[in-house]
Homo-oligomer: 358 residues x 2
């Protein structure tokens, strides 16, 4: 950067996308592709879509040998297209994020019958010669949701209209996406206009649009977050999926760019009391919720002096209901804030929503 | 990010570089190309190289019509090659960062006589068909220093051996590079082994190597900073050029990734008391030095509990010596820290070096 910050051109094009400048925009509804998966853990993307975007899922399609199901109607690509599907989504997140050779015939079949193909893998669909040739010949789209759109500008930091809530975390992978989805749903159920804003690959597939924050060139990351939640009606809530943690040694830069670009009015901190050390960065202890709140408020005030913490969510899936209730109430008392598990809902989550809207 | 953080592959290749995994590495010495420049402000890159890397500069080469000189021997590409030059460096930073058509014959001439071509412009050398064809045919390198090397890993956060100093700022473009260069020189003059570690295009040309932090994909930015200052001898100092500001609404993510990836033992805060508002982001006031120190220490303790502030540098080039002395002493008294203008040197800068090494 920065000698001529105001003259910096936008981030150059990196992929092939539907929109001009802006977030990704995906063709829906989807046929979920399960490949030959035999471990439920690898089908997380499909499960997330089924749980949070059932209206976007017409069915599932697996290869012989697959033993995992998302409990959706089993449809061939031809049948799915006949029922209105616009794209086949690779619903698998395998180790390494690579396309398996055994999947290629199914992906070609999808292209043949009129579906686009959407992937959140690291390896790019268009790098596979057969897929690229077929898609080009038939005029189909190969969409890698990990590739940011072209034309992302440098952030301005200027205040935008409408309300914004950002989920932040004490670590990666402890519920920022699920918390944001549950809050957006809770706001909608109260009659507010609210939209989930996705920042990672699974969230983008669920929302049908979004910004893959971790793939944006660093200088443009805050600008990407600004694009993701543009000016809107004064009473509208954008509920933005957080990434990483402000105290994560590898991803803190993404978290801070997302904080400054999101300029949230409210943050909700996502935590897992059963996790002592950072996932995949075990020498580092998970930081305290209070420390993350304090730093996030101080840094976030730079772009929104009204920023405040609406509460804390904790993943209690490993506990029985009584033990979960004890933990949530103990933490609420300790922190002086509403604490809830959004997947359990109930009064605790209602009080958290109240506090976010107060 | 993050569900399988420990399984993330490295950032894919983006450019053509000399090294395999690691920082950029540039062929030196240089012939500085001044184009047809008539305003000294646009020749900043050439002046920076002349001031800080005179041993890397065999001469300068300008087109007819140029009125600006770096006061180096005027050499044709042929003569420069005969005197050992390995590359022609575009020493110009014009508005928009684009290659002027009038420069192309000179760049082709440089390739013809055996020089590589190095650019810090936004537009890529290899995107120009004539340059690309000529370089490929002759086996020369076209090096865009704004393109990061391939294979940058996700940061680990693990402590590395050796000592590190990072310059940080209250804004962009107020002396972080010059401060780092002056401190590295000051350490060397005291008999320490010290190395300037560049993070922006001009710094990279001065050092002959470095990491263009602002061009790295966000998820890999802290990892890029880790690559830039690897394990070294216990008494060795890496003096790392800072970027942006932890409180800059557009670039804070780069600054925090650089802080966490650099794991500095010492920070020096660079400030300009004559600047009230952020450059190019005028609605935002320049934050206070104390606030930047406090936030940087708190965030930096995550990866280096021993982090401390060695002092503050202020660009006083607009003041006469007496006024500068008054300002520097007033700020030193107010902050309780050594405050110096590294370009003025003297006792104040010596005390700042003392404090960094204390």
């Amino acid at each position: 950067m920065h000698n001529s910050a105001h003259k910096r051109p936008a981030q150059p094009a990196q992929g092939r996308h539907s929109g001009s400048v802006g977030q990704l925009d995906l063709p829906t509804p989807y046929l979920l592709f399960l490949g030959d998966v035999t471990e439920a853990g690898y089908a997380k993307t499909a499960f997330g879509l089924r749980d949070w975007a059932p209206d976007k899922c017409v069915g599932e399609y697996a290869l012989p040998g697959a033993t995992v199901s998302a409990d959706l109607p089993r449809l061939s690509p031809t049948d799915a297209a006949a029922q209105g599907a616009k794209a086949l989504v690779i619903g698998i997140a395998n180790t390494g994020g690579v396309l398996a050779p055994s999947w290629i015939p199914a992906l070609l079949e999808a292209l043949d019958v009129g579906l686009d193909v959407i992937s959140g893998m690291h390896s790019r669909l268009g790098d596979h010669p057969l897929l690229r040739e077929r898609a080009e010949r038939l005029g189909r789209r190969l969409i890698d949701v990990r590739r940011p759109p072209a034309g992302i500008p440098i952030a301005t930091g200027l205040k935008r209209s409408g309300m914004r809530l950002l989920t932040v975390g004490t670590d990666c992978a402890l519920g920022k996406k699920y918390t944001a989805l549950a809050i957006a749903r809770g706001f909608s159920e109260r009659g507010l206009t609210a939209e989930f804003r996705a920042t990672g690959q699974t969230g983008i597939m669920i929302a049908g649009s979004g910004m893959p924050m971790d793939a944006v060139v660093a200088d443009f990351a805050a600008g990407a977050a600004e694009l993701l939640s543009p000016d809107t009606d004064p009473g509208h809530w954008d509920v933005i999926e957080g990434q990483g943690s402000i105290l994560h040694p590898a991803y803190s830069g993404v978290s801070l760019a997302l904080l400054h670009g999101s300029q949230p009015d409210v943050i909700v901190v996502c935590h897992d009391t059963s996790r002592a050390m950072l996932l995949g960065h075990e020498p580092f202890p998970v930081p305290g919720v209070g420390e993350v709140i304090d730093l996030t408020i101080r840094l976030g005030q730079r772009v929104n002096p009204a920023i405040r913490c609406g509460g804390v969510t904790i993943n209690t899936s490993a506990l029985d209901p009584d033990a979960a209730a004890v933990l949530l109430d103990r933490e609420a008392s300790r922190l002086g804030l509403p604490v809830a598990d959004p997947m359990r809902g109930g009064d605790r989550f209602a009080r958290l929503l109240d506090a976010c809207l107060a």
